[in-house]
Amino acid sequence: MQTKKIPHPGWNLEYMMWMFTRLSGLAFFFLAIIGMAAALVMGARNQMDLGTLMRWTFFPNPNHVLDSNIPNVDIWANGFWQIMQMLVIFFGGTHGLNGLRVVIEDYTSRPAWQSITRLLFFVLWIFMILAAVYVILAS
């Protein structure tokens, strides 16, 4: 059978979050690789323990290497890494919260409960993003 284009069956929350889950999984992978590469450039191989390396890899915040032997952490405290942290929080947090929403919706069949659950998750998601942005900008 040859590849055949068909009209798109439509956009909805389930479809968008299904796509997002897959793309954010990939994004998280690449973000972690960038974080780890930067940590190695920073001198992680000789001047960081494994825990510190992992903290920087998955959430590249300069506070995470303050207690390491990296000589100058200040040059790593810049806008680029703040954006990286926000991307990690956005992709990771949204991916995780959506996963929790899917698990709960597996067990809820009443539309009213679904609306309440979705509203609750939306509020939680906004709060999480705002709190994370505040912590990132304040640190």
């Binding site: 059978m1 068909i6 069956p9 909805n12 389930e14 479809y15 899917v102 919706e105 597996d106 069949s109």
Partner: protein, 233 residues
């Protein structure tokens, strides 16, 4: 050899709640579980209720849980499941009596996905031929006998009966990938829903349960991919 069977029993007219009855029967290793049930019904307890029709793995009537796994009683040999058997009705559908469940919710989901061929509106003037390659594309999903073993092995279906279930998706797949069918987008719209393909979390219970060895999870994945990419590969 002697086979010990523990069988789920429930008679809504006489039982307040379900219970299990134990039977011991003589059997050959090559006997099928259905043969044992037939023996019990004929010689030990005529009130035992279960569905069976062709008894040769074609009609799909006798799907049941044998030692915790969905199987067709007419296809499972004693030598493959051992001499101690626990036989229960399939999960996720209301039990009507003993091993008989109400299949209506299952068939309602099946009917919801337009499980039949939709041709072009104009009456074709000649036979609609299909190449062997195009026919091969959906060959696997033509094998479904609607026994319900896949859908009733799915935890998403146990958790939420609104989910259409793998059997309905398999039967939609059979027509979605048919090069002659004209209702592909309608079917994909039905399955692009909260209770469509997105309740499938690819745990493969359905593939393990299918007595026809259909690659059910793969079929569900192909439908997901068709929705995501708006392409039929």
């Amino acid at each position: 050899m002697q086979v010990k069977l523990t069988i789920f029993r429930y008679d809504p007219e006489n039982d307040k709640k379900p219970h299990f009855d134990k039977f011991t029967v003589e059997a050959e290793p090559t006997d099928r579980v259905l043969d044992l049930l037939e023996y019990i019904k004929d010689y030990k307890d005529g009130t035992l209720a279960y569905r069976r029709s062709c008894a040769h793995g074609v009609c799909g009537s006798d799907a049941m849980r044998i030692n915790g796994v969905n199987r067709l009683a007419c296809k499972v040999l004693v030598q493959d499941v051992g001499t101690t058997l626990k036989v229960e009705p399939i999960l996720g559908l209301p039990v009507q009596r003993d091993l008989i469940v109400d299949m209506e919710p299952f068939f309602d989901h099946y009917k919801s996905v337009i499980p039949y061929f939709v041709g072009s509106e104009e009456m074709p003037q000649k036979e609609q031929l299909q190449s062997p390659e195009d026919r091969e594309r959906f060959d696997d999903t033509t094998k479904c006998i609607l026994c319900g073993a896949c859908t009733t092995s799915c935890p998403s279906f146990w958790a939420n009966g609104n989910y259409v279930g793998p059997a309905a998706i398999v039967n939609a797949h059979r027509f979605i990938f048919d090069s002659r069918d004209q209702a592909v987008v309608e079917r994909l719209k039905i399955l692009n829903d909260q209770f469509g393909v997105y309740r499938c979390h690819t745990i493969f219970n359905c593939t393990d349960a299918c007595p026809r060895e259909i690659q059910v999870t793969q079929a569900v994945g192909e439908v997901k991919k068709a929705i995501a990419t708006a392409r039929l590969d």
